[in-house]
């Protein structure tokens, strides 16, 4: 049983990892179609993972409702929102879910008039919190903090009309910061991150990193 529970997953990860790493260096159409097919398989498996997320979300809110935890009434709105969206999505403008997705349905209406405005507003609220966090954090106490503050101010002012009104060189300075020192530092970070990702990938392929197996036997 331990063979099925632990060894088989390690073999699958090893075979997939080695095959996909090697196929990159094989410039043959079989290799290319293998990448295409297996990548699509990965997307298909990932599609099922959405139901894992849905189960997790609904289970969390159902537990809140069952136990009458504080704020449990709000959890009913999660089911209301999901229920209405799924019903209209499956209804598919009268063509039902086994036909191709239709345009101009209630499902799309919900997307454009509920999800898009609510999502955009949620993210725009962060502008206020970032501004207040910046006020508390960005005090020019050290040389490094001063450099960070100046770079942030130049980039912010360089992107709005008032920046040009203050000085015509502000947008040029903002562009220079983005394309020279910012790019240089990002390259350095990217190289470091990539080396880390490659090292982790090798550890996964050779079965040293096994966190993805989860706990238990």
């Amino acid at each position: 049983m331990n063979f099925l529970k632990r060894t088989i997953p390690l073999i699958i990860a090893f075979v997939m990892g080695v095959t996909m790493a090697l196929q990159y260096y094989v410039p043959h159409e079989v290799s290319q179609s293998l990448l295409k097919v297996v990548s699509r398989w990965g997307i298909t498996i990932g599609g099922f993972a959405v139901f894992l997320g849905a189960y997790s979300l609904f289970h969390l809110h159902l537990t809140k409702i069952k136990r009458k935890l504080p704020g449990w009434g709000y959890s009913t709105f999660v089911f209301l929102g999901a229920g209405i969206t799924i019903v209209f999505g499956l209804y598919n403008g009268g063509e039902f879910f086994w036909q191709d997705k239709q345009e101009g349905t209630m499902f799309e209406w919900i997307y454009f008039n509920v999800q898009v405005p609510a999502g955009a507003t949620m993210f725009s609220i962060l502008a206020f919190f970032m501004a207040s966090a910046a006020y508390r954090t960005f005090r020019a106490r050290t040389n490094e903090a001063t450099i960070l503050l100046i770079a942030a101010i130049i980039v912010m002012l360089g992107r709005v009309p008032i920046g040009t009104m203050i000085s015509q060189y502000l947008p040029i300075a903002a562009d220079w910061i983005m394309s020279v020192p910012n790019m240089a530092a990002k390259r350095g970070i990217l190289i470091g991150v990539s080396i880390g990702a490659i090292a982790t990938s090798l550890k996964i392929i050779f079965g040293i990193e096994r966190a993805y197996l989860g706990g238990g036997d």
Binding site: I12, A13, V15, G17, A21, R40, W41, G42, I43, T44, F48, A49, V50, Y55, F77, G81, A82, G83, I84, T85, I86, G89, F97, Y111, F112, N113, V114, P117, A118, G119, A120, T121, M122, S124, I125, A127, M130, L149, A151, I153, V155, M156, V160, W176, P181, N182, A184, K186, R187, G188, L190, I191, G192, A197, I198, S201, L202, Y212, L213, G214
Partner: protein
């Protein structure tokens, strides 16, 4: 006292929102059965979300939970139409039960079964089968990562433009990019003590990092600001029609 004030503010805002919409609809400025209902719904969600800036309140919580539910429902339906329907339903189930001219592609059973195994994560007895699915995904990702990262994020990032460029400013910029990359890498290299020359170069790396963090912060703030401007424009142009 404070709670009753909050209730008063909440109901006043709701009544005001209701009255504004009734007024606009009765004047014909909003076409209820056309785009009007969508605009009113969008405005309601926008204002409900912004009400959090005053403080956490029931209207925000309702909108937040509805948003979470709608987002979940949306992803389930989109996953069906974009992934499961074309890859599983139409390649196996439809050809088996209906004459489509194309034979069923039984190879798709492999990812389908692995996908179903993934759902066994919640079963106490069969949760171990989900490891096969995760191993497939993680192995696939790792295998693709190694050559692609070496090519795109290491080798490509280590190619620099010539320091001897047609103009001096370009040469200086090329030198600064080289200096920035090298100094940042040295700052993150902990196998050597940061003293002397290495310490000096790593300080330059810190300066480059600070500029990059400041630039990223400024860039992110402006992106959020543009979203904020978009929402305010929606309220005063699309909903209230105060600007054209």
């Amino acid at each position: 006292m404070k709670k009753s004030r909050d209730v008063y503010i909440l109901f006043s805002t709701l009544i005001l929102f209701f009255l504004v919409n009734i007024f606009y609809l009765s004047m014909g400025w909003l076409d209820f059965w056309g785009k009007g209902l969508g605009i009113v719904t969008g405005a309601a969600f926008t204002l409900a979300m912004y009400s959090f800036l005053y403080k956490d309140n029931p209207v925000f919580k309702i909108a937040e939970n509805l948003f979470v539910g709608v987002a979940m429902g949306y992803w389930i339906i989109i996953t069906w139409f974009n992934i499961l329907k074309p890859d599983v339903f139409e390649t196996i189930l439809v050809p088996i039960f209906k004459e489509t001219g194309t034979p069923p592609q039984f190879t798709i059973l492999i990812p389908t079964l692995l996908g179903m195994f993934m759902l066994l994560r919640f079963s106490k007895k069969l949760a171990w089968m989900s490891r096969w699915s995760f191993a497939f995904i993680v192995g696939l990702g790792s295998g693709i990562t190694i050559p692609n990262f070496i090519h795109a994020f290491i080798l490509k990032q280590l190619t620099f433009d010539s320091l001897i460029a047609p103009s001096i400013p370009v040469s200086i910029n090329n030198f600064l990019v080289l200096l920035g990359v090298v100094s940042v890498l040295i700052y993150f290299f902990f196998s050597v003590e940061h003293k002397g020359v290495v310490g000096g170069i790593s300080i330059i790396g810190v300066w480059f990092l600070m500029i990059a963090f400041g630039a990223s912060f400024g860039y992110t703030v402006m992106a959020r600001m543009s979203l904020l401007i978009g929402r305010i424009q929606f309220l005063i142009r699309d909903w209230l029609g105060l600007i054209q």
